[in-house]
């Protein structure tokens, strides 16, 4: 059964794809209006908030999407996943997490010398200065970058955009039940990857740059 979307008359990915394929300008505008702002935030998160290239990357992504929208194939993913897939490609070219930046973040984490242990084990509130630090943001962004795109979208959608399982199901063209299972896996994958990244400091250039 096709997942329904809140894009007016183009309420399923198939209907939207068909209208885009036909060159229906309203279909493109419906897609744009629904996702452009979210895409801006997504790009800002991936590049790092305040990054000077955010606007330029969003422009490149949306223009690339507009030029290829007539060939959008819902079998390859929901419209949101398709857009973020394009964005990931452009972000990778612009805002690669630099190895040095990641190394500094890792060293910062090591210097905390166990202050985070109780927090990380869920027994204590987070130290406020740690939460506010730019190094933690670098570590988290690098961790997210190691995950498959769908897991990234699930985690940022759930924890940053406060989207429900139903919303996420619509975003990704899946059932809410599937989303819950995948969210569980995404959480585990994130924890593992964060532990590996922050714990060992061992990340490859490709992991950091993806």
């Amino acid at each position: 059964m096709a997942t329904r979307m809140n894009t007016g008359p183009y309420d399923t990915p198939d209907a939207l794809a068909a209208a885009l394929r036909d060159g229906d300008a309203d279909a493109w505008l419906a897609l744009y209006d629904r996702y452009a702002q979210r895409l801006w935030r997504e790009v800002a998160r991936r590049l790092g908030p305040g990054h000077p290239d955010v606007g330029d990357v969003v422009q490149e992504v949306l223009l690339a999407a507009a030029r290829s929208a007539k060939g959008y194939d819902p079998k390859r993913g929901s419209p949101w996943a398709w857009l973020v897939g394009i964005a990931k490609h452009y972000v990778a070219g612009r805002g690669r997490t630099r190895q040095r930046e990641l190394r500094l973040a890792w060293e910062w984490w090591q210097r905390l010398d166990g202050r985070t242990r109780l927090w990380m084990s869920g027994q204590q509130e987070a130290p406020p200065d740690v939460l506010e630090s730019s190094e933690l943001a670098v570590l988290v962004r690098a961790t997210l970058d190691t995950l498959p795109l769908e897991q990234q979208l699930l985690l940022t959608g759930r924890y940053l955009d406060d989207r429900s399982a139903k919303d996420l199901a619509e975003d990704l063209g899946q059932s809410p039940g599937t989303v819950r299972v995948q969210l569980h896996r995404a959480r585990n994958a994130f924890r593992r990857s964060f532990d590996r990244l922050a714990g060992s400091g061992q990340t490859t250039e490709s992991e950091a740059a993806r």
């Binding site: 060159g23 929208a69 007539k70 990380m120 506010e132 769908e150 924890y159």
Partner: protein, 397 residues
């Protein structure tokens, strides 16, 4: 504020994620309004698509992995001498694209590299729709993508198996050369100038591949004869993996017999319905138990799937298999093992070359999907247990 998640008691996931979101992420609404107009114009000016796009690369990789699982691979290294030039191409991309789109048969040499090292090479015969034969040293595999069937032949042993792959989203139901044709038709190509390979002048074009959530390959570069426009080489490149199809001969004559799924006379044939569902570490433990007999009671130096058919000749099968039912179960376990090994990149194999038997020594491990901070481990005595990641000896990563 994100509502509490009952399954999220162990680590402050929301805190962590929100740490990456501090700072200015709000859209520039004026710029988005202007961009709305620009993108509409770009949308309206874009050409109509020919066919829905699919990504040939991931399809290839899936097939490649299944192939590795089903047949094993033999490594033969060969490198072409390449001299780079920057002269402009003398043929048009449209001519090259047309020759690729018109392809019904082709032969080429496939070279797969991983992490900068040659993984394997093969001679490939392709016949539309969806028939392909890959020949490697001692092992030949024939695919029929339309039926989801694979015929594998080990010539020295005069042994053949026929597999039907299930539970994998039918990866074999994708004819990746026809998807290559679609990609060439749909994507814009950038001229790369000319270069000379084996004394032949080739003109090149590069296509930025559509991003895919599974990652893999970033670019496709097509090299065609600078005078005739016939494609002779295609290169897929990604961060860690690359594939080259060289000596491409479009329109080569291919007998039906070459791509037949009927094994030759005199071969022992076994048929298997290969299920890729739920591979587990018990399967890998089973594989290791067999494989270590080829090394006199030591764990094999590598778990590369292309090594297995070579070592299979030295494995003491009889000591562990006494019936056809057991043989069938072993085949399934080995198939699932290679599926797991080829589809996950997060396992570690510290047991290479170590003696079997120790109940305390971790020889293989991978993160436990169901338990944060825990790993699933295989021990030297082939037992499988979940243990805290902190229990892994440091040198074992």
């Amino acid at each position: 504020m994100t509502s509490p998640d009952p399954s999220d008691n162990h680590t402050p996931l929301a805190d962590l994620l929100q740490a990456s979101d501090r700072g200015h992420t709000e859209p520039d609404r004026d710029r988005l309004a202007e961009l709305r107009r620009q993108t509409l114009a770009a949308f309206q000016a874009s050409p109509a698509p020919t066919q829905p796009r699919r990504n040939p690369i991931m399809s290839f990789l899936r097939n490649h992995r299944a192939l590795a699982s089903a047949a094993g691979l033999i490594l033969v290294a060969s490198v072409a001498l390449v001299v780079f030039h920057t002269n402009s191409a003398s043929v048009a991309w449209a001519d090259v694209r047309q020759s690729i789109q018109g392809m019904r048969t082709a032969t080429f040499t496939l070279q797969v590299r991983h992490g900068g090292h040659m993984d394997y090479t093969a001679k490939v015969y392709y016949k539309a729709p969806g028939l392909m034969r890959m020949e490697r040293e001692g092992v030949t595999t024939v695919f029929d993508w339309t039926q989801g069937k694979v015929l594998g032949m080990m010539h020295e042993e005069r042994f053949a198996f026929i597999s039907v792959v299930a539970d994998t989203g039918n990866p074999f139901h994708k004819d990746w050369l026809s998807e290559l044709q679609q990609t060439v038709a749909d994507e814009e190509a950038q001229a790369m100038g000319t270069r000379r390979i084996d004394g032949r002048e080739l003109a090149g074009w590069r296509i930025q591949l559509p991003p895919d959530e599974s990652g893999g390959m970033d670019t496709l570069t097509v090299w065609a004869d600078a005078h005739t426009g016939q494609m002779v080489q295609a290169e897929f490149a990604g961060p860690t993996e690359s594939m080259t199809f060289s000596d491409f001969r479009i329109g080569a004559e291919i007998d039906d017999e070459k791509v037949s799924l009927t094994p030759p006379e005199g071969y022992t044939v076994q048929e298997t319905k290969f299920s890729a569902a739920e591979p587990s570490l018990n399967d890998v433990a089973r594989l290791l138990r067999f494989w270590s007999t080829a090394y006199g009671g030591k764990f094999p130096p590598s778990l590369a799937s292309h090594k297995f058919p070579i070592d299979a000749r030295k494995i003491d099968w009889q000591s562990q298999i006494s019936s056809e039912e057991q043989a069938q179960a072993a085949r399934m376990a080995i198939s699932r093992s290679f599926w797991l090994l080829n589809s996950r990149g997060d396992w570690r194999y510290p047991g290479a070359g170590k003696a079997t038997g120790s109940a305390d020594q971790v020889v293989f491990w991978m993160p436990d999907d169901e338990g944060p901070g825990r790993v699933q481990a295989i021990f030297g005595d082939f037992s499988v247990r979940a243990i805290p990641e902190s229990d892994l000896p440091a040198q074992q990563d």
